[in-house]
């Protein structure tokens, strides 16, 4: 039997959990504390959107960069869970019936968050690879 057989890489669920915690601690908590100060002269929704995209990108990038091995899907899954958490707060679930439209909205937003965090993680992995290359060269 070929021990170096190529198989599908397993998802590192520890990083999914830690990634979710990172999103909550490093994005949600600062958002809660600072968002009042961030809103200055711009539409609230624009600022919120930009803040969310920046947060997903940065945290995804950090996880991709710092984690051992390749972790691209993990922060993306965390971002999707995190976005669902945020949507649950904004009344998408609580006190309302979950219809098809809501589920599709949830999937769209979760998918967008998934892609943004994956992009961040991919950039992080690239940076990590470059760093390793430089370390080997020196």
């Amino acid at each position: 039997m070929d021990t170096t057989a190529v198989s599908k890489r397993r998802i590192d669920w520890a990083w999914v959990g830690v990634g979710y915690c990172f999103f909550v601690v490093f994005h949600l908590l600062p958002s809660y504390v600072l968002l009042e100060f961030v809103r200055q002269g711009m539409g609230e929704n624009v600022v919120r959107g930009m803040w969310l995209i920046a947060g997903l990108l940065v945290v995804g990038l950090y996880i991709g960069y710092r984690s051992r091995g390749t972790t691209i899907l993990e922060p993306a899954i965390s971002a999707m869970l995190y976005t669902i958490t945020l949507m649950s707060k904004s009344g998408e679930f609580l006190g309302r019936s979950i219809g098809g439209r809501r589920i599709s909205m949830m999937l769209v937003w979760g998918g967008v968050a998934f892609l943004i965090a994956m992009l961040g993680a991919w950039i992080g992995e690239m940076l990590q690879a470059q760093k390793e290359k430089r370390a080997k060269a020196s």
């Binding site: 170096t4 057989a5 198989s7 520890a14 915690c21 601690v25 809660y32 390749t70 691209i72």
Partner: protein, 268 residues
């Protein structure tokens, strides 16, 4: 790197965790704290997360709002909307949580922590005493402690308002008495001299004895001229007074008016 084609080596020893236990503990604690803040505390501070139950960390603010609402309902002639039993009990629960349960947890957790420290026991970060202490700190320092200066300020403002209202009431009563004296002055001016009056002037007018003094003030005439009388009222309750002139110069056919009101002391 291709995540789809990484080789799997089952015989390799299990990788050491990338996360230290203390890091994970802190991360999970912070995550839980943030989620509690986001899902529980924030809705509590912003209004009524549970419908009519309406738990409020500051029930005295809700009570103030209720008083204002009653006032507006009275003012607009609508029947008062008495709070339901659920609303009352939820406010009572808010008071108990904020002022009784919170500080109790705080001191209880503190005491338990001290006892555990003295006995040299090392427990988990998530032990009951720590959780009770943290919850107690949260409730005590956000609700119970700010309630003390708020209560003192409320008493001071309430006292100041009551005092201001009492001064205003006293001033109104004195103004009313001065109006009564003006009517007597008018009678005097209207009566002919043969009948003991002034014959078209105020000369000889004196304040009737029953109006010279009452519970609010003493009244005296400062100057009497043909067509004007200057009166003074000195408050008995406050260090204050009122001076006013009865002016009959333009009131041959009509009652004289009161003008040149001067308020002194607390009536100012």
């Amino acid at each position: 790197m291709n995540p789809e084609t990484e080789p799997v080596n089952d015989s390799a020893p299990r990788r050491a965790s990338e996360f230290s236990p203390s890091f994970l503990r802190w991360l999970i604690s912070l995550t839980c704290g943030t989620l509690v803040l986001f899902f529980v505390i924030d809705p509590l501070y912003r209004g009524r997360p549970f419908g009519e139950i309406g738990f409020s960390p500051y029930p005295w603010i809700v009570a103030g709002g209720q008083v204002i609402s009653f006032g507006l309902q009275e003012f607009s002639g609508r029947p008062l909307e008495v709070p339901t039993a659920t609303q009352r009990y939820s406010l009572l629960a808010s008071l108990l949580v904020g002022l009784v349960v919170g500080p109790t947890l705080f001191f209880f957790g503190w005491r338990m922590n001290r006892i555990e420290k003295e006995s040299g026991k090392k427990g988990s970060v998530f032990r009951a005493s720590n959780i009770a202490f943290l919850l107690g700190v949260l409730v005590t320092f956000t609700i119970a402690v700010p309630a003390i200066p708020a209560a003192i300020a409320q008493r001071m403002v309430s006292h100041s308002l009551r005092n201001a209202q009492a001064v205003q009431r006293s001033r109104d009563a004195i103004i009313n008495d001065l109006n009564w004296i003006r009517l007597f002055a008018e009678q005097h001016r209207a009566l002919p001299q043969e009948g003991g009056g002034g014959g078209g002037t105020y000369i000889g007018f004196q304040i009737p004895s029953q109006l010279e003094a009452n519970a609010e003030a003493t009244y005296e005439i400062v100057n009497v001229f043909d067509s004007t009388v200057v009166m003074k009222a000195s408050s008995k309750r406050y260090d204050a007074g009122v001076m006013v002139t009865i002016d009959g110069r333009f009131a041959r056919r009509f009652p004289a008016g009161l003008r040149d009101w001067t308020y002194t002391g607390q009536f100012q």
